[in-house]
Symmetry: C2
Subunit: 117 residues, 2 copies
């Protein structure tokens, strides 16, 4: 069963949280994204993928950065995919991962503060 | 025992995660902040405080928005305080909470993507 977030629901979401109170639905959606990022390995994976040449990376590009088994890395990539933060595209032997830049951009926008932006 | 994050360590942190890979230390620090935000109640509390008139709110301003007991709300406020996302200042009967806008601004900056910013 796919637990991927409905990205379409994110379209209306969200004004900066410092501008107006988040609704319950917005808070639930956002909390799922932050939960996916609430792990150092997943944050580093996200960053390695986003900053990789061409904006995409396969597991073969990612494993050397970690002292972790392949299945553990695959588990974290699955969590990132299910959250909607990254996509995976199988080409030949490998799955190539890309970030959803619009999801990161929305999260960035939600955290924008008037005072410091 | 205080578990508050050393805010000074955040000063050097962080370039957008899409620009260069996060270091292990940066990823650990950021994951603790995202963990504090990985809960709908805490996100709504953060948003209620940040968007409240004058940029501060006491528990008396927050409880009506939730169908939760006082101790539960206090627990979530404590997690937010320990993460460094908010501060609390006791004045008379109440503790007044404010967000650390520079912490939100740093998180926003980390999530900025070149393509969409």
């Amino acid at each position: 069963m796919s637990k991927q977030l409905p990205l379409v629901a994110m379209d209306a979401c969200c004004a900066p949280l410092a501008r107006e109170p988040l609704t319950q639905d917005q808070a639930v959606e956002l909390s799922q994204l932050f939960k996916a990022m609430a792990d150092p390995v997943r944050l580093r994976l996200l960053s390695l993928i986003a900053s990789h040449a061409g904006g995409e990376a396969c597991v073969c590009d990612l494993t050397d950065a970690f002292d972790l088994t392949g299945p553990t890395i695959s588990h974290h990539l699955k969590v990132l995919r299910e959250s909607g933060l990254i996509t995976g595209d199988r080409r030949g032997t490998w799955i190539y991962y890309r970030v959803h830049p619009e999801v990161l951009a929305r999260l960035s926008s939600v955290l924008t503060t008037t005072e410091f932006s």
